[in-house]
Symmetry: C2
DNA sequence: GAGTGGTCTAGACCACGAT
DNA sequence: TCGTGGTCTAGACCACTCT
């Protein structure tokens, strides 16, 4: 464990104290000047370590007072979601049911924040795995010049990809709402559901631009037996140390 | 916009270039020395800005080569999940159905990585909202000394809280698997489901300690009409700038 | 006034990549 | 060899909190 840069030693030592419970949420950390003396190093180096701890959610600082152990937020997870791939399934084929420019129905005017005369692109697709339909997918995008209405551009595109023809992916905010419902007649038909006992995982996706104006609404209805989502949370990934180890291994 | 520290000006300027599409994934950033000259500042200040950009996923650096615009990972979201609260519902009462120390059934031996003689605490609860049952919840924890088997400690505790009696919350890794299913007879009874058309949102929660040893398995079966999950993703939260504005406002 | 964190400087040495 | 990023120093000034 020697050979670690000083700032990472500080990170590790303080993490160890927090993980072991020696330091509890709300407790003060040694002051920066004290840490300088303890590690016989300069303040910038100490601060680099503390910045990492703050960034990973371990500590926070109050100017004029000190650094303190953060209360961990146990309700935040990292969710991995890709329309075409989930824990138990990968879409290997899609079928374009419809691409149309429509006048927005009442519901859309509201959720896309547009006027009733603004044209909207509607895209309806079916996703397949091994020739089985696994999801039904509808997307609505306010129509702007240069929008993709070319079939081959749309066919295999995920929602962010469709929108990013015009906008940098960095400039998009995305929202997901995950719910459960039973298929109606139409969905049952599309998804080959003859058995009334098969529920759907419904994922609503909304994209916004940097000014928080809606750029698109998508709803994907997955057959329940083809959709499992995965999320995780952990404080002790030790990204910095991990990377350092990787670098030193080479 | 003046009054921003130099390192945040650098962050903002480069973000603007990336968000607008002027800089695309893979493109090199000005070298650190060039930025020093451009902003008439020292290298540590430039590097502080670049560190923020790297941390927020905008750029990455290759030692000896330079800093480059990162390809954004569009399949990562932040999910907010708390057993007792979701988008459309808050649990206001719980009922303890059973707390027992059991010998693990076959399935648990595997997923908790224990021997068949290791005792396991089983906790079964019902969650209520407005006197209506909204979720059925089972948890399994390998039994160690000091484990909570006192009713009042368990009653309103979320899963991480149960485990954190012994361990710092920081030292826990959590995994969620979200799926959909129909209720069986037992679940229908517990959740007052007389209508066969009501599916369940099933959330499996697994906790691990720092050595990746399982510390607990929990499964929560939500009535579909009482559970919606929310997740979001955005690059341009501008946490640092936001905080700076807040500080300057005061 | 003493201590704290926030910002910043003007250097330094290193390992690495390109040439 | 020269430019790059990674680490680090020994100071500085500021605004803030505490007493």
């Amino acid at each position: 464990m020697m050979g670690l840069p000083i700032y990472l030693q500080i990170v590790e030592d303080i993490k160890e104290k927090i993980n072991s419970g020696e330091l509890k949420p709300g407790d003060p950390i040694y002051s920066e000047n004290t840490l300088c003396k303890n590690y016989n190093t300069s303040r910038m180096t100490v601060r680099k370590g503390l910045a990492i701890l703050a960034n990973e959610g371990y500590i926070y600082s109050i100017p004029g007072k000190g650094n303190f152990v953060q209360e961990p937020d146990s309700s935040i997870y990292t969710l991995y979601y890709d329309e075409m791939n989930n824990l138990i399934n990968s879409v290997d084929k899609t079928k374009l049911l419809e691409v149309n420019i429509i006048m927005p129905p009442y519901k859309l005017i509201d959720s896309l924040q547009i006027t009733k005369n603004k044209k909207v692109i509607m895209i309806r697709r079916l996703f397949y795995t091994d020739e089985e339909p696994v999801a039904y997918d509808v997307k609505y995008l306010p129509y702007y010049k240069g929008m993709p209405i070319v079939e081959k551009e749309i066919r295999y595109a995920t929602f962010p990809e469709m929108v990013s023809k015009n906008t940098s992916l960095f400039a998009i905010r995305k929202e997901l709402v995950i719910s459960v419902q039973m298929p109606d007649e139409e969905l049952s038909k599309y998804l080959n559901i003859y058995n009334a006992e098969l529920p759907l995982m419904v994922i609503e996706q909304k994209l916004y631009d940097m000014d928080n104006k809606p750029m698109g609404l998508g709803i994907t209805y997955f057959r329940g037996d083809y959709c499992k989502l995965y999320a995780e949370a952990s404080f002790f990934k030790d990204k910095a140390v991990q990377e350092n180890r990787n670098m030193m291994r080479q």
